[in-house]
Amino acid sequence: MQIARPALIASVLVLSCACSGIKPWVAPYERDRLADPIMAWDRDAISTAYLDHTREAREGSRGATGSAGGGCGCN
């Protein structure tokens, strides 16, 4: 998979950087708004998947509709 390989390498690099101790520019105590349920990428996964399904069944496009990453890292 030509595209998947660079993506994998990039991911490994990002994971490596994760160990370097970059200081968060939004402190945990500043994330109250991001922790609000209205800021969740997807509150209802079954419903979203169903809507995606109805669309994909009638459109040529598919994929990449998942909400990337989780919540806000508020804990």
Binding site: M1, I3, A4, A7, A10, S11, V14, L15, C17, A18, I22, K23, P24, W25, V26, P28, E30, R31, R33, L34, D36, P37, I38, M39, A40, W41, D42, R43, D44, A45, I46, S47, T48, A49, Y50, L51, D52, H53, T54, R55, E56, A57, R58, E59, G60, S61, R62, G63, A64, T65, G66, S67, A68, G69, G70, G71, C72, G73, C74, N75
Partner: protein, 389 residues
Amino acid sequence: MHPAYRHLARIATLAAFVLMRATNADVLPDDRADLFYSKYSGGGMDITGESVLVRKKVTDNFAVEANYFIDKVSGASVDVLSQASVIKDERKQKSGTLQYMHDKTTYSFTYINSTERDYISNTTHASLSQDMFGDLTTLTLGWSRTRDEVGENDGTAFIPKVEWLGHAESQSYDVGISQILTKNLIAGVNLEVITDDGYLMNPYRSILIAEPGKPPGYSQGAQVYPDTHTSTAIQTQAKYYLPWRAAVTGSYRYYTDTWAVIGNTYELDYTHPLANIWILEGRLRYYKQSHASFYSNLFPYADSQNFMARDQDLASSENTTIGAKATYAFLPEGWKIFKRGTVTFDLSRISYHYLDFSDPRGDEFSDFSEYPLYHFNATVFQIYMSMFF
């Protein structure tokens, strides 16, 4: 096989994955049970869906999830009507997910089986999600493999006569990053590559061949599809917390594939809570695509190309969706084993317009160009209850 089911198994894995990612902030999500009902009406089809989902943490780090989905189809789309057969069918899907969290990494494994009279699909999905940079960034990696057995029912709904035509294999790779940018703004990027190999066409479709001079101006012929297909989609999105307690989300997706389909999707969403009891949401979506390289509304003669298709999904088209959702929260103080519950109503109206796909039903013409371009409206209604415990 129903076109509407073609990608459902893969999307179901995504649902499990999204559910995992929705709240992964060093703790696994709450235990929950969901009851779901949906109804789709439009384009000559009525589809009802019923689903139950249960999710339970076995330990603080390990959770299991089970989902059962059944949907029933009646009617037929414009392509199938032109072959004078009406569908009545049912699909059952079972899935199970295991999820394990260690420190800031969550691992997930899902297995899905989907069965209908003329289509069997089995999918395995594995993924991991990693929080990093002080939990400002979440990286997700996913992989799926699906094997489909494709058949055609030449009998009736009550006395089926299924001929198995072949199988298709599909693999999906996805990478996603979610990034906190400010205390009010979060953004994300997703990339997904999907490859298919095998029997990829819908056996219930056919091509139309020109027969000018006498009504109806065409005859039907057999479609021929490539046996490989690779698609790439990238989506960017951002969510912003407004100066008042509300959020706005914008997203854009670009899609391209080896069949020369190019799609652009734009979406805007506004979420507004009311007194911690209601959450109201409105959304707009616009989608436009170009046709596949081997698609034609009308072929000049039989065998005029190596590959030939007249599937409406592969035609040039655009559609617009307007939708609204209302979530009502109840039992805020909890009851028995339950911490809280919600009921959600969701209604969408979708308007489809085809730019090079004609509707050959109705009055017959000797000149095919006199048939009107196809368009239809669809309504999608959902109601579901979620109990958290």
